[in-house]
Symmetry: C2
């Protein structure tokens, strides 16, 4: 099979495939717990098994996918403990990054962009995009900490959390309320009241955790 030559891609095919599967996972194309057949995905993506397996390794390392030897790779199904752990991590990382942030840090602009994007998509009722903008907002908060390694790690954790969102049907209820809260956090922070902004963020995260956990208990038994 020939493909390579559709575009002059700078990244290798393997990386393209990894990014593609990651997108499918985060957007909820697959159901948590579902097995990802090598052969089926090979054909769907038009790549060889070896290339696909390289992508699987990366995704497994990111936690989006779980590898069980001789059984296959499965879409990670977050359990309640994981959700709790991830929110604890988020409070740990985000709150600290925000509280120590330099007020005119470049990432503040990214925060504002994310808020505006979220408002736009909310009007169109594009909840998937609203969720992505939400992630970008919180990613920007972590970026205030000026650590590329922490940024990557945080993105990864957020992507894993988003897998749990796939268990829920009501996307509007899941994402819409936070558009306003994000904006409130941002405005409070820009006003110079860092302490209050952190408190808002903490409250935000606690509420989000409750909602996600509740939905998990209803839908994702086991």
């Amino acid at each position: 099979m020939k493909k390579q030559s559709l575009e002059d891609r700078r990244e290798s095919l393997g990386e393209t495939v990894t990014a593609g599967i990651r997108r499918l996972l985060v957007e909820g194309e697959f159901t948590p717990g579902q097995r990802l057949s090598e052969i089926a995905l090979c054909e769907r993506l038009g790549v060889s098994r070896n290339t696909l397996r390289e992508a699987f390794r990366t995704l497994a390392h990111e936690g989006l996918v779980t590898h069980q030897p001789h059984r296959g790779v499965f879409v990670t199904r977050p359990d309640a403990a994981s959700i709790v752990e991830i929110y604890r991590l988020r409070r740990f990382i985000e709150c600290r990054a925000l509280s120590e942030a330099w007020p005119s840090h470049p990432a503040v602009k990214e925060m504002r962009t994310a808020v505006e994007d979220a408002r736009t998509y909310r009007e169109r009722q594009d909840w998937l995009a609203v969720g992505t903008a939400n992630m970008a907002f919180h990613g920007a908060i972590v970026a205030l900490g000026d650590s590329a390694r922490l940024d990557d790690f945080f993105r990864q954790v957020l992507a894993e959390l988003r897998l749990a969102f796939g268990l829920m049907s009501d996307k509007e209820w899941l994402h819409a309320p936070y558009v306003e809260m994000n904006q409130q956090v941002l405005e409070t922070f820009e006003k110079g009241d860092t302490k209050a902004a952190v408190a808002l963020l903490e409250q935000y995260l606690a509420q989000s955790e409750r909602i996600v956990l509740a939905a998990w208990e209803r839908q994702g038994a086991s």
Copy 2:
């Protein structure tokens, strides 16, 4: 080529290879910046190129190795900015984990074990092992935070830092002083004076950063 049947390994060959290369890397078998030829490593490890490439993907994701398309994978050569960033991360993570720790957390036992191991190896002048025990000590501190994801991330960051150690020749000077300091941190913490323990740890990390940075400037120009 047959191999597989020497032992009844539970983990796949690919994971064995990944772990093996990782060990070689952190033990300083390779020089930072050195190119790792696929063919040479294939033969040395007795695996196929595909399997080796899967391992490379994982290690690149961990940051121990840098992939340059169509040029090969190179042992990551930490720059000064990376060293500074990693120490900032360490202060961020370790100090917070220690300050919020439950005094009788199981990981405290691991901390003590690591301190004792370090003393043992120091007597034998086995500085590589002392360094490993040191890493275990700090890994145990992070484990106080009860987050498996953070533990993994931290281990990864520490492994990357250890690459920089490979640039230095005087291993004794690099590792020996911290055996006592680790013990001091542990004893202060066990005495119940968490605040003082955190202060000690912070001072420890600052000193370590200075030493590593100084050595980097001397040896690893560019």
